[in-house]
Symmetry: C2
Subunit: 226 residues, 2 copies
């Protein structure tokens, strides 16, 4: 398929393995992918550097990083001075960033409108996840409904579809899909507190879920630990 | 009512007359108001300066400005190099900022979660307005529904309510409400292309709607024109 016949889509790319697989699936599905990263005051910038590199290697048409200063509202271990816990407990954990996916999808929606794109992809997953409320199918459906009421293209145009192709996949399924798609997992950063070189802690919930997923899939995980 | 007995609310304050009246109504309704402005790459900063001053004079507990760089996605006369038209035409006008209200409400939602607030106020209005899709009742209802699926407090806590007290008011009604509440309208900036001193152009859709509203209410409009 040549690029002129591809439909444009906005794909949220964080630098982690889930959004890398999502981007590769959107590309495989025939979309011209406009990769979007949101700099929301993450603890480390290695995640954003990984996102830019993945967008390039996975064939995105372009990559844009939009900044929104969520540090100024605080409230999460990922953006404020709260320690990242070593393992998940009951309920929604402190690594939850208030309204993060709502904010990131909103920015993706704005860019989709500007591009005339009807499709938005994000890598949320509700199987092997940290229990965040904004990763569930009902959230994605509600966002899509909102998007179609909120926008010019929803009201006057072709409408907006929000794709979450990993929603029902286990972490092992995601690792297998990524391997099939030829993703270089050493270029992805999953850890909640990776260092400046993208090396993982090996102890947080994100590290644990990733390691278990690769192990279950029988695939070697090239994560670099510090 | 002393401040300790007031429930916290996040109130979106842009610096215009609508959000000033919204803030005053929320305060009158017994809320401890945390005023939020979003710097999204507006053409002028006089709007944000007006927002900060209004938050102070209208009794907000605090005022925060969160930056999100919507200039990088472009697509609107308010954020990109597109001329602001002198009057509205058919359909959604070029001053529409893609997904602006979705993005601003998302940030308000994030702050509400951090504050433990269940209430968000915004000054959208679907009577004398520019025809933006994200100003209609169905949009606000869909956002509230999303908010309750997206957040910790929606899932585990008291839930989120999104208030749009001006929704069904005419611009004349809003001017009258503001006068009753003692708002100094000279401190508000409505114009889409106000200059650095907050002086209005007198020609854009926002100027026209404001002038007609004050005239219909029989209230003197202290807008400064350049």
């Amino acid at each position: 398929m040549n690029s002129a016949s591809r439909k444009p889509a906005v794909v949220l790319v964080s630098g982690g393995m889930d959004s890398a697989v999502t981007l590769a699936l959107a590309r495989e599905g025939g979309f011209a992918c406009h990769a979007l990263s949101v700099a929301y005051g993450q603890r480390h910038s290695s995640e954003l550097a990984a996102a830019a590199a993945l967008a390039r290697t996975l064939g995105a048409v372009e990559h844009k990083t939009v900044s929104v200063d969520l540090r100024s509202i605080g409230g999460s271990a990922l953006t404020a001075d709260i320690d990242v816990p070593e393992q998940g407990g009951a309920g929604i954990p402190v690594t939850y960033v208030p309204a993060r996916n709502t904010i990131m999808l909103s920015i993706a929606l704005g860019w989709a409108e500007v591009l005339g794109a009807s499709d938005i992809f994000c890598g949320v997953n509700a199987v092997d996840y940290s229990g965040y409320p904004d990763c569930r199918p009902a959230f994605i459906e509600a966002f899509e409904r909102l998007a179609n009421l909120a926008t010019k293209s929803g009201v006057e145009g072709a409408g907006i579809r929000v794709h979450a192709p990993l929603m029902a996949m286990s972490k092992a399924d995601i690792a297998r899909a990524g391997a099939r798609l030829g993703i270089d997992f050493s270029a992805t950063v999953s850890c909640y507190q990776a260092d400046a070189e993208g090396r993982a802690c090996g102890h947080c919930d994100a590290c644990r879920l990733r390691a278990e997923g690769f192990a279950a899939a029988g695939i070697d995980d090239p994560t670099r630990y510090r």
